[in-house]
């Protein structure tokens, strides 16, 4: 089964990337953009989707500083 993991900086944790993009945008001619956050996207095919959570905890995400969200092929968030 195809799965998609969205990994983003935990709320309240500094997101230097998002901040840098947000600060740069107006100067580049893109106005009206706010709350930019940059995270990671991991896409994979997995035989047993029930273990995805564990996989995120242990490898894909860094639970100390990142939140993650798993989406299975059907688009349903888990």
């Amino acid at each position: 089964m195809k799965a998609r993991v969205l990994i983003r900086p935990k709320e309240g944790i500094l997101d230097p990337q998002g901040q840098a993009v947000e600060r740069a945008l107006p100067a580049l001619g893109f106005e009206g953009v706010e709350s930019v956050h940059v995270g990671r996207l991991v896409e994979l095919e997995v035989a047993d989707p029930s273990r995805l959570g564990e996989m995120c905890e242990q490898l894909l995400a860094n639970p100390l500083i990142e939140d993650y969200e798993v989406e299975l092929d059907d688009g349903a968030a888990r």
């Binding site: 900086p9 309240g12 944790i13 500094l14 997101d15 230097p16 600060r23 100390l64 500083i65």
Partner: protein, 750 residues
């Protein structure tokens, strides 16, 4: 809420914040009332071990701090020494152990960010970073994870901000398994008259916060993360992880240096542990003034922060400065150009109080003196341990292994093997000052000025906790000697020293004993060498689940290299060079790497004769400065055989040497297992040199008859052959040595 329950409530709070009952009473006494939440938060951090040095300040007083070259000593953000030509070099080492044990990448990265700020806070431009790391043994997945993250984090910050990481050391040992050490040292340069102090001055001047927005980073960090033992519950303390933003700091660094260049600041101070609380109170204390801060003015990253959170936030990449009101616009203009935030958040007063306001309403009011000077200081209760504190390391090498195999095993062992895997992740070149860096000499060498007319400096960082565990006094003294010897190998004379004392819980009497003996060793060695301590840092409570770390004083030094064009390498560079050993080297197996590989940890190391060591350093330095040497490499971990092996590997050239003389002397002294001891024994004082035969012969002829200068043999061929007299000889291929040395660490990460 009734009055009685308020007392109870705050009583609980102070304990949660790490204050003892008597400490709390002392606060009540100094304030003349119960502290409110803001005040309690500020006091708990200012009186934490991390900020207040409760258990170490009295000991630190024993370190010598005076010297003719000292421009700034302990007490400022970084120490500084005069290097001639109107230039000063600022430097300091600092630990970021606990944050790194929780999140190695960010912990190490913010450790580098923090020490950089200490250096540019005094107006010096950072030109180099060095790192000193300790982890558990590499066959542990956790140790590899920590090392991988810490090395990447150091590289990330240093590389991105454009400061060369030029040197460092990494050692491994089981006691660091759950409590790794990440110490970072920064070296900066400035015209002497441009150095600034952090004392706030000028009643009515504005207090301006520069740099990043303030979030809830590290709330509770200083008291909880840095001053309590890391236990099982450390997982729950994780949300306060600080994230480093080297880009923000790069702008901040350039901006601050430009502000200072233009003379726009009255004083400058970095925000480190305890954030605004400590920087504001330290600036006020040093200036003998008061400071009013309005937390409502502090630009925030997160909504809903409380006053106390703003006061103790450890958000990175911020600085606090004092500005005359008339110059505020000029300050803002420079900050705008660099896209650096600048907000007036308070003013200097004559009250000698730190007053915290929120939209003009007082929410905290504390005498600066109470925060800084009234922090309780504790005497240690040192007690020599009666039983061993540390288990012997796991044996990995059988006794009776052939000499050649033993040397290969040592070269492959993680403590000795090349750390190339790590230092190749560091930009060691940026700044165009790097004459020698990791892997090419015993100390890094950096140009002072780009036209080369002001000579160079050498920097090194050293420590060996396992030897300090064997003997805290001797081990700590040896760290000073080793650092100075590394400097001598590039011809540098030490001008000043910085140190970081990484120890376990000082409230335990055997840890207190380690600490006291180690400081005594440091102090005596510094006095013997005439090197003043200009700064440092203390990291206590380094105890994970498995007990205390090895006592690990880390020593960093800066020295002057008058002529960087003749600096030898730590490699054999030509065939047919004569190889010699200089210095009063008396090897012993006790406490050596070989001992450790065989699973032994002794109690007590051979005494060190500091005067003779100081003379030997002078002699080594003079030999190097003669400009005749191609090679100079100090004998340290793994003994003489390893030193020779490393020179062969680095240069890709073999050597044939004879240690029969040394073996004979050892036998006369009654040492057992003399061949092994000569080859692999350790101890201070030895330097391997090589160069053209005539030059080495001349140097050797200068010998005053003691065992200070011995010609050992000659470079050449593709094997390293070491004769030890009648009994046995060591004979290995340089290619095999290289393979062992290069792969020992790297293979763990492939």
């Amino acid at each position: 809420m009734s009055g009685a329950s308020t007392v109870e409530h705050s009583t609980l709070r102070h304990r949660e914040l790490g204050l003892t009952d008597p400490e709390y009473e002392r606060i009540v006494d100094r304030l003349g009332r119960e502290p409110n939440d803001v005040e309690l938060a500020v006091f708990s951090l200012m009186w934490s071990e991390h900020c207040g040095y409760k258990h170490s300040r009295r000991l630190l007083g024993r370190l010598p701090t005076e010297g003719e070259h000292v421009v700034m000593g302990p007490g400022e953000n970084a120490g500084a020494v005069d290097v001639g030509d109107g230039l000063a070099v600022a430097f300091k080492v600092e630990s970021h152990n606990h944050p790194s044990a929780v999140e190695p990448f960010q912990g190490a990265a913010t450790g580098v960010g923090g020490i950089l700020r200490d250096v540019f806070a005094i107006g010096a431009r950072p030109i180099a970073v060095l790192d000193s790391l300790r982890f558990g043994e590499l066959d542990s997945a956790r140790s590899r994870y920590l090392m991988n993250g810490a090395v990447a984090g150091i590289g990330h910050y240093g590389n991105s901000i454009g400061v060369a990481t030029v040197g460092g050391e990494i050692l491994f040992g089981e006691p660091y398994e759950s409590n790794c050490l990440v110490n970072a040292m920064c070296v900066g340069i400035a015209p002497s008259e441009r150095l600034v102090r952090s004392a706030a001055a000028g009643v009515g001047n504005l207090v301006v916060l520069l740099g990043a927005l303030t979030g809830r980073d590290g709330i509770g960090g200083a008291s909880v993360l840095a001053s309590a033992e890391l236990g099982e519950e450390s997982a729950s303390k994780r949300p306060s992880v600080q994230i480093g933003d080297p880009f923000e700091e790069k702008k901040l660094l350039e901006c601050c240096l430009e502000l200072l260049d233009r003379g726009l600041l009255a004083s400058l101070q970095d925000l480190g542990a305890a954030g605004l609380s400590s920087s504001a109170s330290e600036m006020a204390s040093k200036g003998g003034v008061g400071i009013d801060l309005d937390v409502a003015c502090v630009p925030r990253r997160e909504p809903g922060m409380e006053a106390f959170e703003v006061m103790v936030s450890e958000s990175q990449e911020r600085m606090l400065c004092v500005v005359e009101p008339a110059r505020l616009d000029a300050v803002r203009a420079v900050c705008d150009e660099w896209d650096v935030g600048a907000t007036a958040i308070g003013a200097v007063t004559d009250t000698r109080r730190l007053r915290v306001l929120e939209e003009g309403e007082p929410v905290g009011d504390m005498p600066v003196e109470a925060l800084i000077d009234d922090c309780p200081l504790y005497d240690l209760a040192p007690q020599r341990p009666v039983s061993p504190v540390y288990a012997a390391p796991r044996a990995r090498l059988e006794a009776g292994t052939a000499l050649g195999e033993t040397l290969l095993a040592l070269l492959r062992s993680e403590n000795i093997a090349s750390k190339r895997w790590a230092y190749e992740q560091y930009d060691g070149l940026v700044g165009s000052r790097t004459v020698r860096r990791s892997g090419s000499a015993d100390a890094a060498v950096l140009h002072l000025t780009h036209d080369g007319t002001s000579g160079a400096i050498a920097v090194s960082i050293d420590g060996n906790g396992r030897r300090v565990a064997c003997d805290p006094y001797v081990g700590a003294a040896e760290a000073v000697l080793e650092c100075a010897r590394n400097l001598a190998c590039v011809g540098a004379e030490p001008l000043g020293l910085t140190n970081c004392l990484n120890f376990g819980n000082p409230e335990k009497d055997h840890i207190a004993w380690q600490l006291e003996r180690a400081v005594a060793g440091l102090a005596d060695a510094c006095r013997a060498l005439g090197v003043p301590v200009v700064g440092g840092n203390v990291s206590l409570y380094n105890e994970g689940g498995g007990g205390p770390i090895y006592p690990t004083p880390i020593v960093g030094m800066v020295g002057r290299v008058p002529d960087p064009t003749s600096v030898p390498e730590s490699a054999f560079v030509e065939e047919g060079h004569a190889v010699a050993l200089i210095g009063p080297f008396r090897p012993a197996l006790a406490g050596s790497e070989l001992d450790a590989l065989r699973g032994r940890l002794v109690n007590g190391l051979p005494e060190v004769e500091l005067k003779a060591q100081a003379r030997a350093l002078d002699a080594a330095r003079a030999a190097v400065r003669s400009g005749q040497l191609a090679t100079a490499h100090d004998v340290s971990d793994g003994g003489l055989a390893c030193a020779l092996g490393e020179c062969c590997v680095a240069g890709g050239i073999g050597a044939r040497v004879d240690l029969a003389g040394l073996v004979r002397r050892l036998a006369e002294g009654g040492a057992p297992r003399t061949a092994e001891t000569a080859l692999f024994g350790e101890g201070p004082g030895g330097v391997v040199i090589a160069g053209p035969g005539e030059a080495i012969a001349r140097l050797a002829a200068d010998d005053d008859g003691s065992d200070r200068r011995v010609i050992l043999g000659e470079t050449g061929g593709d094997t390293l052959v070491i004769e030890t007299g009648s009994t046995a000889r060591l004979d290995i291929e340089v290619a095999a040595a290289r393979e062992a040395f290069e792969r020992g660490v790297a293979d763990h990460f492939s």
